[in-house]
Amino acid sequence: MIAVNADVIDRQLRAIVAYQFRTVPDALSPETRLREDLGADSLDLVELVQALEDELGISVGEESLADVRTLADIARIATWVEP
């Protein structure tokens, strides 16, 4: 597994999160908090993890979701899925 390219996170992660939470990518920053700012609940987070895996091929272990607060947290713990 290798670390995820920062640009990918910046662009595509924001696009996916924006779609799921009905906002625009420009409204999101690495400091955006999923629960407090976007109103995410636990179901939203599991779904986000699946969308990241399906669309970007990156994996965020569901077990580490409890530690995820911001978009930057996702970028930090995301890893490429082994093909």
Partner: protein, 412 residues
Amino acid sequence: MTAAVVVTGLGAVTAAGNDVATTWAHLLAGRSAVRSLPRLAEAGCRSRIGAEVRDFDPETMGARQDVRQMGRCTQLALAAALEAWRDAVPTGMGVDGTRAAVVVGTAFGDAAETCAQVPPFLERGRRGVRPRYVTRVMANAPAARISIELGFGGPSFTVGSACAGGGHAVALALGLIRSGAVDVAIAGGAEEIGCALAPAAFDALHALSTRNDEPERASRPFDRTRDGFVIAEGAAMVVLERRDHARRRSARIYARLAGSGMTSEAQHVVAPDPAGAGAARAMAAALGDAGRDAGEVAHVNAHGTSTTLNDPMETRALHLALGPHAPRVAVSATKSMLGHALGAAPAIGLVVTVLAVHHGIVHPTINLEDPDDGCDLDYVPEGARRVDVPLALVNAFGFGGHCVSLAVARDE
């Protein structure tokens, strides 16, 4: 004495229009909403026609919830419920949400969600399963979403009784209000055919019309050349309310939901009892519940599916239930124009019948050119007709032998 329950709001999304007004105008004009449905051809069905809801954009209904997280059946149900609620309570004032119920009937609900979920599940197992599959497919999703949207804190649930579903929902909501459990209820039915699975199953049963070259003439209840029903989708909801509650808030009252009758044939899982006994008992029970006589019935919204078995059975049942009065009753089959929207159909029939009572006009049964043997009633074939309707019945029968009849009366 049983509390009087009235209808104060109407909502509908049908193949004829995405609201009540458009649907009603379409029905009075006697136009078919049945079209070619290439989706069924692609699925290899013999029947390649249907009455689907067109140009429905769930984003425009103004829901607070994320409609993308709902299946199409739930979206249709929510749109109809919002229309009905805004119709009944334009100001949003004067109703205690904790005293409000939601009951929705459906045959398949959002079971089509399973169609989308199974391939990734078979490929990837649990990792392929979307967590929201649960909240999209659950049978109670339409009722839950309406309850959440409107803040209704009373009982909310979905009932399943195939094509009688919307009828049971309304009958149960009537009982909830009469029991004193709630003051208000939204009740109705919803069904979708965005996925061809359910239509294909009915096609496999040889239940669907194959008059593919003449879609608008395919649904022909009581006609000699009928060859099955036309699959359809849609949703319809009514706001039911204790009459004193409606009067206290100066609500417009369309009509009174005077009674309901629910029976089962307890015979065959698909074929209706040719004698029509179960259906007749449901109608008689609805009249008895309403405390009214068969002689007062001026109009019947028939189940009228255009299948070989239903139409003469229902005619026989009408004779049994209404006796010598049956021949002078105006019997309309909404499915002649809208096709058969399964669990939504009884609620669509109720909305239309409430309007018939309210306006004193009944819509026609189209495509009835040569009444079949055993179909000897007045089915209003010539076009919409002005009729004074002090009392009407709405019939709904479902696979499994479920029969429901609802009695709608002018509020006097």
